[in-house]
Amino acid sequence: MNDPRALYQEVILDHNKKPRNFGVLENANRHAEGHNPVCGDHITLHVKIDDEYITGISFEGQSCAICKASASMMTGQIKGKTVAEAETLIQEFRDMATGKLNVNAQPHHLGRLTVFAGVSELPSRIKCAILPWHTLHAAFKKMNSTSTEKDF
């Protein structure tokens, strides 16, 4: 991708404008907050887990288009999956965003999430895309808050 403007394509702009699963979730049993101190992105995830299955998920917060679209699409992809399946996606998404996974050449389960592949060429924005995933991982681990400055 030579023109990062291509990252701002319709799918991402659409999820930014009309985020899915945005708001609080009644009966959620996991919550985590994620911060990106560098740019001020801030999201809260509410997750409902029943017998290892993610039966509900929503997010709230203020963030850039990349982060918001990533969160919106993440919630859509994750619902109905097991925690283990979601952890696989978290890892694959991180690897794609940091350029370790070439989605065109290597196997993965990311589906439409590959619209974020281009972010790997924008080092300053990688954390924006990863923040929701990072926060989801924290929710699974029952850590109530996380920051993009931790690990990865």
Partner: protein
Amino acid sequence: MNAHIKNQAAFPETLATTDTSSTFNLARLRADFPILQRSINGKPLVYLDNAASSQMPQQVINRLVHYQAHEHANIHRGVHTLSQAATTEYENARIKAMHFIGAQEAREIIFVRGATEGINLIMHGYGRRFIGEGDEVIISAMEHHSNIVPWQMLCEEKKAKLRVIPMNDVGELLLDEYAKLFNARTKFVALTHVSNALGTINPVHEMIATAHQQGVPVLLDGAQAAPHIAVNVQALDCDFYVFSSHKMCGPTGVGILYGKAALLEKMQPYQGGGDMILNVTFECTTYNDIPHKFEAGTPAIAAGIGLGAAIDYITAVGLDNIAAHEHALLEHATHAARNIQGLNIIGTAQHKAAVLSFTLDDIHPHDIGTLLDQDGIAVRAGHHCAQPVMQRFGIPATARASFAFYNTFEEVDALIAGIHAVKKVFS
């Protein structure tokens, strides 16, 4: 003297023989800055992130190279020729800094790592010694984190209280409220001269007088002022002043702390080590005189000398010329920005430096920054290390274009066109 230093000495004659704006030759100035020839993403670089760090002219680059190639040795220690030469050049830079801000004596000029270290030095050397339980420190609502956090640390340690001067909706400090903050426990005022997030130029002369009526010393954070407006610490009568070299065409890693000699002498040292002592035994150490008392260890010698060259450069261009040109750029940008629907300028103080902080519809500033970068336009997006300012205006972040004397009206136009393009992507 070698050739390029002579060039530098000749520079004032070619550029600023008089202070009329006709001697301000923008094309010639821009030719001094190699980085301005660069292209970014196939477009000519439009560098509008000067408040974060400014660019370096060839004259300063040459000075660094010359020092490293011909003059380098440790300073204040050797009897050999090189050490003496390096010491002389470094001390010359101190004298240049003294003249630059109108200090009375060279020993009032302390080399530090930058504005941040200067503030921390004062917090430690003055604050820890003279501020105690129940005392109060006044800062303002528009401080950079570097002029908030050290004072918070001090207050926590000493059980002292931090008081904050509020501001109005255009980003001007409320002077009546400021005056009311003073009481018998007020021990210190730490205030930014110019706001990095809003551009506001504070009425520091008046505010210092208010503090002095109560016998309270004042530190000015001049990180955003020194590169853009003429500063005279004696006329201002401030007790401390700090600024960073890298925001005024000099190298990173060095800055200046000015302090009135009588205050510096009363303060405790900041770090211990070589150079800051007169005599050391295991029982007792006698500290060196100011400024050396505050300059432990081998400093950033090349950077200090480079700062001296940057001061020469800026002085030759002329701070009055700089202020006038930058003001014209700001007026042009502000006028054009006001015509963009959905653009909201954050910080519209009457007295303003050339900073245009803005939000655009509900587009996040990081998206604005990434898209502008596609057009080669460098702006800062974020909270600008001033989160309380963002909270005051109820926004998470802004996009900020900050201008320098080498920016052109065409570059402002490129910014405005870029903003329109961003709007289109999100429309």
